[in-house]
Amino acid sequence: MHRRSLTFAIAALTATTLTACTAGTTGAPALGTQPKPAGSASAALPAATIELWHGFSAPGEVKAFEDAVAGFRKKFPQITVKLVKGVEDDQITQAVRGGTAPDVASSFTTDNVAQWCRSGVFQDLTPVIKQDGIDLSVLSAASRSYTEFEGKRCVMPLLADSYGLYYNKALMKGNAPPKTLSELTALAKKLTVRDADGTIKVAGFIPSFQYYENVPSHLAPMVGATWEKPDGTSAIGSDPAWKQLLQWQKELVDWYGYDNLDKFRKSLGQEWSAANPFYKGKVAMALDGEWRNAMIGSEAKGLDYGTAPLPVADDKPDLYGSGFTAGTVIGVPKGAKNPQAAWELVKYLTTDTDALVTLSNALRNVPTTKASMESPALEKDANFQTFLDVFAHPKTSTMPSNVNSAFNQDTLQEFFVRWEKGSVKDLDAGLAEVDKRIDDKLKLSGG
């Protein structure tokens, strides 16, 4: 009796454990496993109701998504699309684990793409891309890069962000935006206004890595810094560009005085509010994304500003015009109940010029296909055009797809903050330590 009970208990425990380990496995058909319906795609697809989860939540953003989907509904009247707003990455992962995945899901960040591709959270789109004969060269190289991992393209780029320099024309006092780091340093010093006791009243440029968008990934293209060696291990310690960036930045931080700059930074308004220091004339030049144009339009009407590509290392003038890009991605999660209809929606939203232009005009993000960027329907002024040009620049780069993308960025950011504070005595040793942490984590994650 005792032995039988024990056997039963072990069997129950094993079954429960195995069930837990296989959570998320569903019987839904995978993309590309079924033959493509004959006839025109719009007529051949059976009637279905599909659900799309996205991260947008502001009423204007939600409406933009509805407007973009309207064309799909017209094209596929038999497919009902339900939009669910305000969804974050964690919810997508958990839904897939729990077997309640939506048909289509989108994410604002590219940080999880590699992990999602590897673990199969999103289905590989390669078979249906081939099946439908989609020419991926309509996308920029950077966009193609941040939507695939290890040969799997599990998401498509929906809209992109690109980064540049915003400048307050009144505070610039007639100076042209800087093109090199030396020019940026000189102009930042020239435009900075201090009180008699040295307190900063207006900063020409805030070089702190703790200031809003000044994170390693956005700054790296200014010096052409690379994250990985060809074998996938960290290149941060061995690529002299990182050292160049850090030394330039520290010199400017020291000119302000770390404590002075820190006090000034902490006195400033929130990044995502109408109190943003750029709106308030507290900062003459700032690194920011293309979305700031729309925000200025709604939160700081009347601000006289301009935009330009980010300044680049003096010895790398060919980088001028390029910058960092990443963006919103969209795909078909594992367990989607109607994968074929879901793919049609993904395809429509990411390749249809009208859909992309509708979204871009409403959200003021960069559309991701060449046709949509060149569309006459795309609303653009000189300030927005800067970001379209940065996005299209051949040297514009992105974060390499990596299963530890967030960890790597956190690790470098933490080091950067210690560096600017003056806590790092030996830069080479510090960067080598960053390499080691990243490589150790990579090894733990299975390369």
Binding site: L13, F108, P216, H218, S267, W272, F407, S445, G446
Partner: protein, 316 residues
């Protein structure tokens, strides 16, 4: 009379055993589902590379990584700091407030309510309010500067962030205070009267009567306080987010533990490793470290209090 005279027949004994098991089954099922299974699963997954979807056996690699993961060790140091400083501060403050409330002749109900109210405030709201209260230009710092005291940058300074969290914990002392208050009111008054006749002063009365009489409650509060400190998560994470000004938006890089990892606790690093970095196998190792630390602290406390109360549960 031999003992065998009273032994139940084997069949009856077995029947009683089954009956006992049946009566215990709700607890047994709860124990198995909510404690035994998660613990076994945690140990199991700690030997695997587990990204929430795929499993790959990697032996002791997660454990080896733990020993040179400096963030894990920093988070352990921070958590230990909270155990060593925050828990005693909570206990002393809670006991002090409860003592004062027992002596109030008028308005006791009002003051009890006032001191208890903060513990009803939701964690997120309380933490956000505290970060603004303690911000460099906030009311507390203005008051300090009014008295000529150099005001710290609390949640923006790595040396002051944990004391800031301790102040937050002391503010929300309501529950502990109420337990102490009940225990203090339960101490028979005649003991104090007898001690006073014998010439015992206030400190002597506190040390020889109050402390031994309330020691079971003190032990309960210490043990639960230590376990709470070992699981400290929400307040540290929210304070760091608010103070850093970095939102969780695309493109932003929020390093947990702002400023300079000083508020990174072990549960926070565990959560980050498991759900942000998708290293659930490694997160299981951190969970086991947390479990072992909780057990060790609890055993030490139980042992210490047993010595203090002379093995009789505090009734000396």
């Amino acid at each position: 009379m031999s003992s065998t005279t009273y032994a139940a027949p084997p069949r009856r004994r077995r029947g009683e055993g089954l009956k006992a098991l049946l009566w215990m089954s709700p607890w047994l099922i709860g124990f198995a589902v909510f404690f035994a299974y998660p613990l076994v699963a945690t140990v199991y997954f700690s030997f695997y590379r587990y990204d929430l979807f795929t499993l790959q056996f990697i032996g002791l690699d997660n454990y080896r990584y733990f020993f040179h993961d400096d963030r894990a060790w920093i988070s352990i140091q921070n958590t230990l700091w909270l155990v060593v400083f925050m828990v005693p501060a909570q206990l002393i403050f809670g006991l002090g407030v409860a003592q004062l409330l027992t002596r109030l002749k008028a308005g006791a109900g009002f003051f009890r309510t006032v001191f208890y109210l903060p513990s009803l405030v939701p964690v997120v709201a309380g933490t956000v309010a505290f970060v603004f209260l303690l911000n460099p230009t906030g009311p507390l710092n203005q008051a300090l500067e009014f008295f000529g005291i150099a005001a710290p940058d609390w949640f923006g300074d790595k040396d002051w962030s944990k004391p800031g969290l301790t102040l937050l914990a002391m503010w929300g002392i309501g529950n502990t205070m109420m337990i102490f208050l009940a225990a203090l009111l339960d101490v028979p008054k005649h003991l104090y009267e007898a001690a006073a006749i014998d010439g015992a002063g206030a400190w002597r009365q506190f040390r020889s009567i109050t402390l031994p009489m309330i020691s079971p409650v003190l032990m309960f509060s210490a043990v639960t306080g230590v376990i709470y400190a070992l699981q400290y998560f929400s307040q540290a994470m929210i304070a760091a987010r608010v103070a850093s000004g970095v939102t969780d938006s695309a493109g932003s890089t929020f390093v947990p533990g702002y400023p300079e990892l000083s508020t990174l606790t072990l549960p926070e690093w565990l959560f980050h490793s498991g759900f942000r970095d998708y290293s659930m196998g490694y997160a299981c190792v951190l969970a086991l470290v947390l479990f072992v630390a909780s057990m060790i602290f609890t055993l030490i406390l139980l042992r210490q209090f047993r010595v203090f109360t002379d093995d009789d549960g505090g009734n000396r």
